[in-house]
């Protein structure tokens, strides 16, 4: 495995029932870079993320992770080094919790079973709220947050994990421009600190401005590489305008 890759996916095929959703995917995600996963609806972007997070067992293929110290390990050993940011629509925001409660959940992985978060964890959580620009929101009820604020709370929760790799499912969908800038600035800072950031992205117009690297997928890997090399009109057309019949209906 190349040393500059944080995640290497090798000949991965995933199917729901008999329908293949991802077909023979091989791609890598560079360490300390911002990579966008791009593709139309139903291309299998979320499935790819879920496979990386071990939610879905692939039919064939493997996913290998490499730590910041260049050790190659399977997912199980990486758990505390990967932070996942789900789409913020996947949870019920009427859950009785404060913003600080939710951000604190990012510390739970380090604590392990049964141990309760302590003062140190609370300090980390508050620090992360400051980073996402919500320092006064700690005791705010989560049901009172706007869409952009919810996304930032989820980001703060991921930051509290103090991970090496950040995997995010459309963190910029449905947020206002101000939040988008705050989030992107934070992601760039993470990358400067040597962290790897992988983002499922849907807005083609901002790809060049925001990312270092791009992976085009539509059930198969259509193209991948640096923005300069791979983000071409040709590749975009191939990804979005190809009639594919491997499977359908998955987002």
């Amino acid at each position: 495995m190349e040393n500059n890759k944080a995640i290497v996916i090798d000949h991965l095929t995933v199917a729901y029932d008999a329908k293949p959703v991802l077909w023979n995917i091989s791609c890598g995600f560079n360490k300390a870079q911002l990579t966008a996963i791009i593709g139309p609806n139903g291309a299998g972007k979320s499935t790819l993320i879920k496979s990386m997070l071990n939610f879905i067992q692939p039919i064939t293929g493997s996913i290998a992770f490499s730590t910041m110290e260049d050790e190659q390990v399977p997912y199980k050993k990486m758990k505390n080094k990967i932070a996942y940011v789900p789409q913020n629509t996947t949870v019920d925001w009427d859950f009785p919790a404060t913003v600080l409660d939710v951000v604190l959940m990012g510390r739970y992985g380090h604590l392990g079973w049964l141990k309760r978060p302590g003062k140190k964890d609370k300090n980390v959580a508050k620090q992360m709220l400051l980073k996402v620009g919500l320092p006064t929101f700690a005791s705010r009820q989560i049901s009172q947050l706007s869409g952009g604020q919810r996304q930032r709370v989820f980001l703060a929760r991921a930051l509290a994990q103090e991970a090496d790799i950040y995997i995010m499912d459309e963190p910029l969908s449905g947020v206002d421009m101000k939040t988008e800038h705050i989030i992107m600035k934070l992601l760039k800072k993470l990358v400067e600190e040597g962290k790897t950031v992988i983002v499922v992205h849907h807005d083609l117009q901002t790809v060049e401005e925001y990312f270092d690297h791009v992976v085009f997928i539509n059930q198969e890997v259509i193209a991948q590489g640096s923005i300069q090399g791979a983000f071409t009109k040709d590749n975009i057309d191939k990804t979005y305008h190809q009639d594919r019949n491997l499977g359908e209906g998955e987002g």
């Binding site: 859950f95 009785p96 978060p117």
Partner: protein
Amino acid sequence: MLNQISLLLNDYTFQIVALGTGFLGLLSGVVGTYATLRKESLLGDALSHAALPGIGIGFILIQRKELSVLLLGALVSGLIATVIIQTMSKKTVVKLDSALSLILSSFFGLGLVILTSIQNNPNAQQAGLSNFIFGQASAMLLSDVQLIGVVGLGLLALVALFWKEFKVFTFDPMFAQTLGFSGKIIESLMSTMIVVTIILGLESVGVILISALLIGPAVAARQWTNRLSVVVLLAAIIGFVSGVTGTFISSLGERIPTGPAIVVVVSSFVFISLFFSPKRGIIAGHYANKKRQKVFMNQIQSLEE
């Protein structure tokens, strides 16, 4: 009347039974909070209805009303129902809500058929078996109350121990799993707690209404607070008070089944909470809206001037 009440309150049997149903309500409040927040309140309903055939079959097997055997039967048929519901919703095109109501009514129907055929048999032992449908707390023995107490304390200890895990899993199960908490372990712990609570309540509250005791306190408590710990505590208190008060009402008159009496009390808590709670209540919401409208009107008027 007053005399009658004080006589009842000082009655040893009443004290025992009220303690039992009170503690059961407390337990349902705590366990039910998680079920309600996870939007799985219907599962409890299906499970409890599905317990009825197990009770009947348990009786047929030993021809006696041995509580432990009947409850074991209830447990087994409840678990079978859960497996069928899960298989149906995951492996077939049947959606979860259809699977739930289908299994709920078919198992309950089967239970009624079995109980009726038992009642037609000349076995004097079967008297009181139908109490399991609506619940009859006065049938409770001291040993039953002790059982509820011991098992209940165990469940409460689990909630305290796995507080953080239950919290994160209830809010965001996918995220909880990426943290390394096995969804299978937490989910089976939570379902076991629901099943055990239901089984404990079958005798006093009955199969039809036990789920109301799971959902009601949680729904009422959620109206008054935005903190999970307070919701759980408040649901426990509401459950306890409902259990005791319901038993009291049921003991006042003759042949008032305990289950419905308890559920009426729980429902009044829910009703009051939905309408009158200060922030989330319907009335408070109405006035907040009116106030906002007024503010907007004033703003628009001041702009026009």
